[in-house]
Point group: C2
Chain length 86, copies 2
Amino acid sequence: MAETKKIRTTVDIYGQQYVIVGTESSSHIRLVASMVDDKMREIGSKNPSLDVSKLAVLTALNAMNDLVKLKDHVEKLESELNRVKE
Amino acid sequence: MAETKKIRTTVDIYGQQYVIVGTESSSHIRLVASMVDDKMREIGSKNPSLDVSKLAVLTALNAMNDLVKLKDHVEKLESELNRVKE
């Protein structure tokens, strides 16, 4: 069995460093980290009184919301694709 | 122009209450909040030394990563659908 190579990537999110270990490329991890950083700054600029942990929770909530809605969209696309292929 | 009705939903994530104001139903917001809460507890159980803000940032990173990958999948599905329809 081939061993999956673990890749370590250090990213900076909202002024804090994180070492991410996984199978995804460093460029992919850096892209995702910059999206989280951007979203935290966007939410933070609208809600300057929020502390970092609440800001991060709201960012997670935001991304998870987009994910749930996109999953619905994928289901519709897949069923349309199956219908068209029949 | 019709006014968009704002819905207020109070959710509990990792022991902290958040009031979410938006156009989405309370049941949808509660589902998304429970997914964030579950993911924070999962990451926290594997990394008990992490503080809440780092845990929330890693949860956001996780959801954003899933979102980016799903967006790629949607692009492939849409182009396949367009090809099949031609």
